[in-house]
C-alpha cells in the first residue's frame, strides 16, 4: 500500500504546483491585456489626478510581482478581492454562479455518464452489428455539430415547435428541484449530445482494445458468454482510459460550457467570465480563471488516483 500512497501523494503535490503555475499564467495573461485599466474604467472624462488616485487605490502602481504575491496570498486565505464593476466581494458574485455551473454539470453528468458507458458496452458487445454502426454514426454526428447549433435546433424543436421546455434557462433559489430541472433541461440535453459521444466511443474503443488480449481468448475457451466476457473480463481492464475520458468530459462540463450558457442565458460562471472580460473587471476574470483551473486540476487528480486504484497490481502489491 505504501507505493500507492506515495504515488498519490506525488500526484497531489504536482497538482498544487500546477495550480501555482496556472495562477502565474493567468496573472501574466491579464497583465498583457492591451490598454490601461484605469483609463478604460474611468473613461474619457478622467483627469490625470483621478487616474493616479484610482491606481493607488487598486495598488496598480506597485510592481507586478508584488501585486501577484499579494493576490495569491489573499486568494489562499479565501479573500478573492472586490469586483471593479460594482464593488461587491468577488466571492459573493462568483459563489452562486459557480453553484449554478456545478448544478448544470452535475445534472448532465448524472444521466450522460451512465448512458455513455452502457451504450459503449452495448456497442462493444454487438460490435459491427447494425446497432453498433447506428450508434457510432449518431454519436459521431453529435460530436461534429457545433454545440450552439445543437442548442438552437433543440430550441426550435422542443421550445418553439412544441413548447415543452423554456428556451431561456433562468433559475433562482425560490424554484423547487423539479422546476430547476425543467428549466435547465435543454442546456443539459445539448451538453449531453456533446459529451456522450466522446465517452461512449472511448468506452467502446478501450474495451475492444482489451478484447484482443490473450486472457479474453482464454475466457472464450472456458466457454464464457460474450456479455460476461465484456463486463467481467474486459471492463475491469479498460477502466483506466474510461475514467480518464469521463473526468475530462466532467471538467469540460464545468469549465467549457460558456457557449451553451450564453445561448440559454444561463447564469453560470462561464457567462460571468465573458461579462467580466468585456467590462474589464479584471479581479473577477482572474478569480474565475483560477477557479476553473482549480476544478480542472482537481478533476484530473481524481482521474489519476482512480486510475491507479483500478490497477490490481498497484492495489495488491506482491
Amino acid at each position: 500500500m505504501n507505493k500507492l500512497a506515495a504515488m498519490i501523494t506525488k500526484r497531489i503535490v504536482f497538482g498544487v504546483l500546477t495550480l501555482f503555475a496556472i495562477s502565474l499564467l493567468i496573472f501574466v495573461g491579464v497583465e498583457a491585456l492591451p490598454g490601461d485599466l484605469a483609463e478604460a474604467i474611468l473613461g474619457q472624462n478622467a483627469t490625470p489626478e483621478t487616474i493616479q488616485a484610482f491606481r493607488t487605490e487598486l495598488k496598480l502602481d506597485l510592481p507586478a510581482h508584488e501585486r501577484y504575491f499579494a493576490w495569491i496570498n489573499a486568494f489562499v486565505h479565501g479573500d478573492l478581492g472586490k469586483s471593479l464593476a460594482n464593488g461587491r466581494p468577488i466571492a459573493e458574485v462568483i459563489g452562486w454562479r459557480f453553484a449554478n455551473s456545478l448544478l448544470l454539470a452535475g445534472a448532465t453528468a448524472l444521466f450522460a455518464i451512465p448512458l455513455a458507458i452502457i451504450l459503449g458496452l452495448l456497442a462493444a458487445i454487438y460490435r459491427d452489428s447494425w446497432f453498433d454502426k447506428c450508434i457510432s454514426m449518431v454519436t459521431l454526428s453529435a460530436i461534429s455539430l457545433p454545440e450552439f447549433f445543437v442548442a438552437y435546433i433543440l430550441i426550435a424543436l422542443l421550445s418553439v415547435q412544441i413548447f415543452l421546455f423554456p428556451s431561456i434557462s433562468n433559475i433562482n433559489d425560490q424554484m423547487s428541484v423539479f422546476q430547476k430541472m425543467h428549466a435547465i433541461f435543454l442546456p443539459c440535453l445539448t451538453l449531453a449530445f456533446v459529451v456522450v459521444g466522446h465517452m461512449m466511443r472511448m468506452t467502446r474503443a478501450a474495451i475492444i482494445n482489451v478484447l484482443s488480449s490473450p486472457f479474453i481468448e482464454m475466457a472464450k475457451l472456458k466457454g464464457i458468454g460474450r456479455k460476461r466476457i465484456i463486463v467481467k473480463h474486459a471492463l475491469p481492464n479498460a477502466l483506466s482510459p474510461i475514467i480518464n475520458v469521463v473526468v475530462l468530459n466532467l471538467a469540460y462540463l464545468v469549465v467549457g460550457v460558456v457557449v451553451v450558457e450564453v445561448v440559454f442565458v444561463y447564469p453560470g460562471l462561464g457567462q460571468l467570465l465573458v461579462d467580466a472580460v468585456s467590462k474589464r473587471d479584471l479581479p473577477v476574470v482572474q478569480a474565475s480563471g483560477l477557479i476553473f483551473a482549480a476544478t480542472y486540476v482537481f478533476l484530473n487528480l481524481t482521474a489519476d488516483v482512480l486510475s491507479m486504484l483500478s490497477n490490481p497490481k498497484l492495489r495488491n502489491p506482491r
Binding site: 481468448e217 475466457a219 475457451l221 472456458k222 466457454g223 467481467k232 473480463h233 490490481p312
Partner: protein, 545 residues
Amino acid sequence: MVALHDINKQKPLLDIKQLNIEGFDGEKWSSIVKNMDMKLMRGEVLGLIGESGAGKSTLGLAAMGYTQTGCRIASGSIHFDGLSLTDAPEQSVIELRGSRISYVAQSAAASFNPAHKLIDQFAEGPVQHGIMSYTEAVEKAIDLFRRLDLPDPENIGFRYPHQVSGGQLQRAMVAMAMATDPDIIIFDEPTTALDVTTQIEVLVAIKDVIKELNTAAIYITHDLAVVAQLADRIMVLRHGNLIEAGDARQMLDNPKEDYTRRLLAVRSLGEEKIRNEKDPNVILDINGVSAGYQKGVNIVQDINLRVKRRKTVAVVGESGSGKTTVARIVTGLLPARGGQISFSGERLSPDLASRDRECLRRLQMIYQMPDVALNPRQKIKTIIGRPLSFYFGMKGKEVTARVKELLGMVELPESYIDRYPAELSGGEKQRICIARALAANPDLIICDEVTSALDQLVAEGILNLLQRLQNELGISYLFITHDLATVKAIADEIVVMYKGRIVEQGLKSEILKPPHHDYTQLLLSSVPEMDPDWLDNLLEERAAA
C-alpha cells in the same frame, strides 16, 4: 452388452476428418491447415509438433470448435463424442468449452485476467456451466493445487496473477483446465515460456495429473524432447500439412520423413567446430564486478570472466540468475559498482555516456527479440546504414554498396535493402540485427538470448551463421542464454550463473563433463532428452539422491 461396450470404447473421443482451415491476411484467404485427419481416443495423449506457422495451435483450437479471429473452417468435420462441432448450434459448442474440453495456454501470465483473483477465475468456468457451486469449486481448486504441488494450496488461489511466479501460474492454469474433470485437455506449448528447471516441475505435474485422472490430451509443442516425455502418439506438422504420424517411441527411434529427422537432429547440432587457435589474447576482462539497480542491493556479485579473441563465452543460468545484468554491465547500460572491466587491454569506463565512439563501435549487441529491436518504420537500408554513417562517415552509394555486402554476409538477398522489417520473417529479422552489429566492424558482440524467440530449425541457421562469421572475421561472442543445447553448439567456454554469482566456469569440455557443481548438474539434467523414459528416470534419480 459387453460387445457394444467394447465398440464404444473403440470409437474415438475426438474425430477430425479432412479439415481445412483458412486465415484472412487482409487481402485473401489462405490455407493454414490442409486436409487434416486426427483421432483421439479416451485417455490418450497426442503430441502435435512442428515449427511456428505449422498450424498446430490452429488445429488444437479447432478441436474445441474454435477458430481465432480472422480464421474460418473452410471444410471438413470435427466430431466430439458424437457431436459435430461444425454443425451444432453455437451455444451447445460453447457449453462444451471449459466443461468437457479445456485449454492450457502458452503464457499463463498473459492468459490469466490481471483484474481477478486466481480462485475466481478457476471457479468461473464450473460455476457458469452450472457444474458446481462456488464453494465446491473452491474445494476442488485447493485439491488440484495440492496435487499440482503448488505451495500453500489453501491460500494461493486468493492471490492475484501478478503475485505468483511464472511456473506456479502455469500450474494454476493446468489446475483451472482440470476444474471440471474434462474429457480432453489441450496443452498449447505450456512449458515453452519457462526455463528448464521450472519446465520440469510443470511437465511432471501435467504428466502425473493426466495419468491419474485418465484424461485425454493434445500436447502442442515445437520441442520434440518435451513431447517425447508425455505423448503416446505424435503427429508432425509443417505448413499446415501432416508430415508423419505414429507411435511416439517408434517415431523417435525410426523417423520415416526427412523433416522429422531434421527436427530430431537439431538437438545434436554441430558439436565440432573449426578452430583457429592463434591469437589467444584476452579481449574482454571483467574483474570482481558487482552491480544492482537499487541502492545497496547487488543483483550480481563479484563477477570474474574473460573473453578471448575469436572465442565464444556462454553465460548460462535460469531467469533471474543475473546473466542479462552481466550484459548490461559490459555495455555500460548499468554502471558497475565495484571492480574493473578492461576491453582489449584498456580500462572501460563503467557508464555508457563517458565511453568514446570508437569504444562503442567495437562492442556491439544483438537482442532476444528482433521484432522489438528493429524500428518498424525504417527500411533495412536505413537500419544497417545508420552505424555505417555514424561510425565511418559513409555516404550515399558507399552505404548502399556496404549494406548489400553485409546482407550477403548474413545470407540474405540484396533485394531486401528496400524492405521494411514487417516484411521479413523472425529469423530474417534476427539476421538483419546481426548485419547491423557487423556494420560497426566490432571486436566483440554480446548476444542476449538471440535464438530463444526462434524455432529450432531457424535458430540452428542463426547459430551456424554466427559460427561462420566468427571463423571468417575473428569476432568474439559473449553469449547469454538459458538454453543448454545452444551452449553445446556454440560455446568454447561456459560460465554458469546462479543467484547473481558465478558458480562454475571453464572450457566447454570441462563443464559438460562430470563432476559438476550442484547447480550445473541440475541445469544439465533438466534439459529434456529425446528418450521417452528420460523424465521418469530423472525423477527416480533425483528421488534416490
